[in-house]
Structures are given as C-alpha cells and as structure tokens.
C-alpha cells in the first residue's frame, strides 16, 4: 500500500528494519525495570532463539518536562535546573546553557573564567567516562562478578574528582558553578596543588584500565566486532561524541568549533577504525588521558583576575535578554550538546530546546543490535553510553 500523496512516506527508513514475524519468534519486553538498561529504557525485543531480530527502544520513562519547566523560570533559575539534565556530567550542561545566553546577550567572559570552565568540564568528562567504564563492566559481567570489581575501582577514582568539585563549588553533583558571564566561585588556596595530585593518581589508574582493556581476552571477545557502526550510518543518524569518533570520523567540537578558549589547549582527538564496541571503549579511555592533559594545561596556565564579567545576581529576575534566537553547542562527554534558545525579550525564555547527544546515539540501537545475540544488546547499549535524564529530559 503506497501513500498516493507522498510516495516516499512508506519507504523504509534505514533505522527501521522491517521484520516478518515468523512462528518461532519470541517477543520479550526488557525494562523499564531491568538491571542494565542504564536507568529506565524499555526495549521490545523480537528474538529467534538467542538471536535478536528486532529491538525497539521505548523512551520517556524519565520525562520530567525540563523544556516546558524552563519556560516558566528566569534565566538564572534555569542554571541549577539544567544540572539535573545529564546527571552524570552536570557541569557541561550548565556550560552549554550559559554559552547560549552569553552568545545571545553578547557577554564577554574573563579569561580566568573560561579556563575554569575548561578545567571543570574536562574533570567532568573524566568523571563521566569513569562512570561509563564502571557501568560497562556491569553490563558485561553483571552485578555479581568481575563487572562489579571494575565498577568499584572506577567509582573509587571518580570519588577523588568529586572531592575536587566539592572543594571548588561546595557540591558533589549539582554544582551550579557556571553563571551568566563567568563562573561563581574562585578556586580555594592550594587548589592547583591538589588538582595536580589527583591528576597523578588518575593517570596511573587510567593507564591501568587501558592495559586491562588491551590485554583482557574476555573483555575483547565480548566487544570486538559487536555493534559495528559504519561512518556513513554514524553521520546520517547524527551519532555524537565517542560513538562517532569510534567509527573513525574525526569530529570534535572542541577542535572543529572551539568554545570557551579550547583553541589555546593542545590535545589530540582519539578515533577508532572499525566502529565496534571495542573501538568506542578505546576512544573513551584515550579521551580520558587527553582530558588529563587539558586539565594539566588549564591549571598550569590559569590566568589571574576576575571570574565573572557580571556581578553575582541575587534577584532572580534581574537578567533580561534581547529578543532573538540562538543555537550554541558544546562537546559534552556524550557528544554534541546543543542549546536552542528563543527569547522574546522578557526575563524568561520563550522556548528552550535541548539537542541531547544521548538521544541521537540511542536511536542507533535497533540498527546495531539486529542480528546479534541477546547478551550483545547490553554490550552495545553500554557502548552508546546513554543517560536517560538527557534522553527523556
């Protein structure tokens, strides 16, 4: 049956593989309550024995209505709200939002603030990737076994990063560190020294994980040649961040469209070749090491001076933006985090749209797991690293 008015409407989208249901398939519902769906993903699986014929992700179980909520809040009240969006990498959400507003209001940010922003977002990237590595262990090994061991080690390392954040901002997860025109807090005395200590520890730990990844036969056998993402599909489906780079596409907003002074830092963009789960894992681990370099440069070259070009605002309604619309994007740990902001000149945004990297990465899941075994769903899902606070928003 073709649609007479629009003949292309019935054409099969590359992401939707059509399945003839045969008699011996098994329809099984995985999630939203399931140990390893990274929160509340629901997958409707069609299995033939152990083989996955079709996987259909259903999202929306963590929808909290952020975008609508933001329309009823002033710009300053939104900053702590967006902390809750991608709850593994909070500070990058604030940064994305603040950069968008600053672009709209044409506010300059002092150099010290820009450096502090880079410092925090790179520390956050390491913390986020550590959470990913730990939970990937859980995906592959379950909560009772070697997976948990990896998880515990990664959280041990993440803890010292959170301690740094606590020292800097007073909070361990919801920092509210960025503000319009800069950042909120000066680093305390001796902060640089402690960052250097942490960097030394992290460098050792991450090198260990790298060795683990390259030498562990069982880890390799589970991830190699699983969920191969071709560069063409990655580009056309809008894959982001480590998922895109794992397929060998060298695209990183920190290099391609530098923001917040990233052009002053020296670092490489690690890429994979094949685009399988192992490549994505390798890219993330290599990225952690690059982030260490950036943090080191940021703390070495941290300029003196003010941390904000605008005074700290005490009254919530005090910021007014000019009328207009703006799109700004940053490289969050999961990929391109875009903020589209429409302002009608009042103290509250008219529309705030988030372009979440987890969402577009997750949309690849049906394509990547088709034809693999049940156990590979978790390997692929884990390698896409979705955070449902961000997918559902």
């Amino acid at each position: 049956m073709t649609n007479p008015t629009n003949p292309t409407a019935d054409a099969v989208h590359p992401l939707q593989t059509q399945v003839e249901l045969e008699g011996d398939t098994l329809l099984i519902n995985m999630g939203p309550q399931h140990p390893s769906t990274h929160g509340v993903l629901r997958i409707i699986l069609t299995l033939k024995g152990e083989e996955v014929i079709k996987a259909e992700p259903v999202i929306g179980y963590l929808h909290r209505g952020f975008e609508k909520l933001a329309e009823n809040l002033t710009y300053i009240q939104i900053v702590p709200l967006v902390d809750r969006m991608d709850y593994i990498a909070n500070v990058t959400n604030e940064l994305a939002f603040c950069l968008a507003i600053e672009k709209l209001m044409k506010v300059e940010v002092p150099r010290r603030a820009a450096y502090l922003r880079v410092l925090t977002s790179e520390l956050q990237r390491i913390a986020s990737h550590l959470v990913w590595l730990g939970t990937y262990g859980l995906d592959l090994g379950g909560a009772l076994g070697g997976g948990t061991t990896l998880f515990m080690y990664c959280f041990r390392e993440r803890e010292i990063i959170l301690d740094l954040f606590e020292e800097l901002t007073g909070a361990r997860m919801m920092y509210n560190f960025n503000q319009i025109g800069g950042v909120r807090y000066q680093p305390p005395a001796g902060f640089g020294l402690r960052v250097r200590e942490v960097l030394k520890k992290l460098d050792k730990a991450i090198s260990e994980y790298q060795d683990m990844l390259e030498d562990n036969y069982v880890f390799k056998v589970r991830t190699k040649d699983i969920g191969i993402l071709t560069p063409q599909l990655a580009k056309s489906a809008g894959a982001e961040g480590p998922v895109l780079r794992g397929s060998g596409v060298k695209f990183d907003l920190r290099k391609n469209q530098p923001y917040s002074g990233y052009e002053e830092f020296k670092f490489d963009i690690p890429t994979g070749q094949k685009g399988d789960c192992l490549d994505r894992a390798k890219v993330r681990i290599a990225e952690m090491k690059e982030s260490l370099k950036i943090v080191y440069q940021a703390i070495e070259g941290l300029p003196e001076g003010a941390i904000s070009s605008r005074p700290s605002v005490r009254v919530a309604a005090a910021v007014k933006t000019p009328e207009g619309e703006v799109y700004s994007r940053i490289e969050s740990p999961r990929g391109e985090l875009g903020v589209y902001l429409v302002s009608d000149g009042s103290a509250k945004p008219y529309r705030l749209k988030w372009r979440a990297p987890s969402f577009s990465n997750l949309s690849l899941l049906p394509q990547l797991v088709a034809g693999h075994k049940v156990a590979d769903i978790m390997a692929v899902l884990g390698s896409l690293d979705p955070v449902f606070g961000e997918v559902d928003r």
Binding site: L26, G145, G147, V221, A375
Partner: protein
C-alpha cells in the same frame, strides 16, 4: 547407626560450611574491590551475616506465580539441591572416613550431579516466564556441552589409578599428585577446572543466571526459601567441585608434615578461592562463545589428555 550419625554430621557440616562460604565470598569480594565487606551483623567480621541472611530468606513471602506450573515450580528447588548433597556421600574426607565407599565413586558423582540440570530446566519451564525459559535453554545447552569434557577429563585419574573408587584414587597419589604428572596432569586439571566451573555456573560461564541480560535467569520468579535452595545448591556445588578437584588431581588428604585433615581443608580452600578469584575478576562470555570453547577447544583437548593418559599407563 553410625552411618546415620555420620550422614547427619556430613549434611549439617556441609550446610554450615556453605553458609559461611557465602560470608567468605563476600569478604573476599569486598577486599578485592577495596571495600570492607559485611561487618555490621556480628561485629567486627560479620560472622553472623549468614545467619541474618538465612533468617531474612526464611521470613520472606513465598510467591508462586499464578500461571506457574505448580508441581514443577515447587519440585525444582529440591531437585537442584539434592544431587549436590548426594555427591558428598561418596567424598572421602580422610582415610576410611567416607560415608559410602563406592567402587564406582567417580561415575556416581558425575551421574548424580547431572540431575541438577533437570531441576534447573523444571524451574525455568515451571515459572512460565520468558526470561526463565531463555535461561533454561541456555542451561541445557551449556551443561550438556560441558559434561563431555568434564567426564573425559575425570577419566584421566581413573585410568592412572586404575580405579573408580575415590579413596583408591587418593591413595594412589601418595608419591606424586596427578597434577604434577608432566603436561598430562596440568592439561587434565585445566580442562577439568574449566568444565567444572561451567557446570557450577560461575563467571565467566554464568550465562544461565546472566544478571545483566536475563535478570536472574531461571531463578527470576523464586523468592524466600525456594530461592535460598538455589543459592545453597550453587555454593554446595562449588564446594563439591573443589573437593573433586582436590581428590582427583591434588592428592586428596596426602601431603607431608601436616595432618591429613589439615591438608584436605587447605587444598579445598585454595581451589575454592581460585574459583572466587576468577569470578570476581572476569566478565561473562556469550553463550555461543561458551559452546565454541567447549566443543572446539576443551573437547579435543580432553580427548588428547585421555590419549596421553593411556600412553603413560602403557609405557
């Protein structure tokens, strides 16, 4: 009468040891993961933790799904536990310290422990749960595949000692343990341990439980004491595997200087810790990879060691 007392003693002993093996595992895993492990119940080493766990499982509500096949569902935990406990009947704990000194000890152990599979499949089928059924299919696949190398590698000590009696096999190893026989001994031991771990459903072979995919596999619908039975069976199975490995390959209670009982306990403890160590440092492999390992690697290898054992004996 003595047999009755002895069997009760073995049963109580095994159950007690198994309870505390869970504590050992949790403590060991804790240390491995730079944590402390349980310590609140029975401060400071958490020595009352197994009791607390048992009480918790006892008072839990026993849920039977409405659609479940009640007979299969209720019988399955018993069928899983009993064979494992039977194995301890023929295990020699010392010279002349064995409940049933069977002449076909090895055969008995192998035969009786494969009944567990029926229990697991009944649990899976009786639950009428899709996850459980998937897990049951996996269990059958895996266990049938690993039975073959397990049986063949267990035949190596039988050939070398010219007896199926477990006590005789231990007695034969008074000069050298079978594991020290060049090439032959080590290969057979490795094949035996890998297959035995797969039989016992330990990581990296725990695909039937597969927490991250199948939630809890065939146990998914069980709660309370029935769940405890599966748990008990799992640990008792591990203990039985450790005993068997020690008796077949590591010379049982044989050893210089120390008394026999100490040697046996020490060796069993070492093998058990080896299993734990592997469990808490590896991730799980996939069903097809597990089957490939069994049929493409372990099965030919076990045939090879059988051949080597024959050559050794003739020569």
């Amino acid at each position: 009468m003595t047999a009755l007392i002895f069997s009760v003693a073995i049963l109580a002993g095994v159950l007690f040891v198994v309870m505390y093996l869970t504590l050992l595992e949790r403590k060991f895993a804790g240390r491995l993961q730079s944590r402390i492990g349980p310590q609140r119940v029975g401060w400071p080493f958490g020595y009352l933790q197994p009791v607390a766990d048992a009480v918790k499982l006892l008072v839990k509500e026993d849920v039977i799904p409405e659609v479940a096949d009640r007979k299969a569902f209720n019988l399955a935990p018993v069928l899983v536990v009993l064979p494992v406990l039977f194995v301890f009947a023929v295990i020699p704990f010392g010279e002349n310290l064995v409940l049933a000194d069977l002449n076909i000890g090895v055969l008995f152990v192998l035969a009786i422990s494969s009944i567990t599979l029926i229990g697991i499949f009944m649990a899976a089928w009786g639950s009428k749960n899709k996850y459980a059924v998937l897990s049951g299919m996996r269990a059958v696949n895996q266990m049938i595949s690993y039975e073959v190398p397990l049986v063949i590698s267990s035949l190596v000590p039988v050939i070398l000692a010219e007896s199926m009696n477990l006590s005789d096999i231990v007695a034969f190893q008074d000069r050298a343990w079978f594991v020290f026989y060049p090439v032959l001994g080590q290969l057979a031991f490795i094949v035996f341990m890998v297959s035995a771990m797969a039989e016992a459903n330990r990581i990296p072979f725990d695909i039937t439980e597969a927490e991250s995919e199948l939630v809890a596999g065939f146990m998914v619908e069980y709660s309370g004491m029935k769940f405890a039975f599966f748990f008990l069976a799992e640990y008792a199975h591990m203990l039985a595997v450790s005993f068997l490995a020690v008796i077949l390959f590591l010379g049982g209670w044989q050893g210089p200087w120390l008394p026999a009982g100490v040697w046996l306990a020490l060796k069993v403890f070492m093998v058990f810790m080896l299993i734990l160590w592997i469990r808490w440092s590896l991730v799980r492999i996939r069903l097809d990879q597990i089957l490939a390992l069994s049929w493409k690697v372990l099965f030919p290898l076990s045939l090879l060691v059988l051949l080597l054992a024959g050559i050794w004996k003739m020569w």
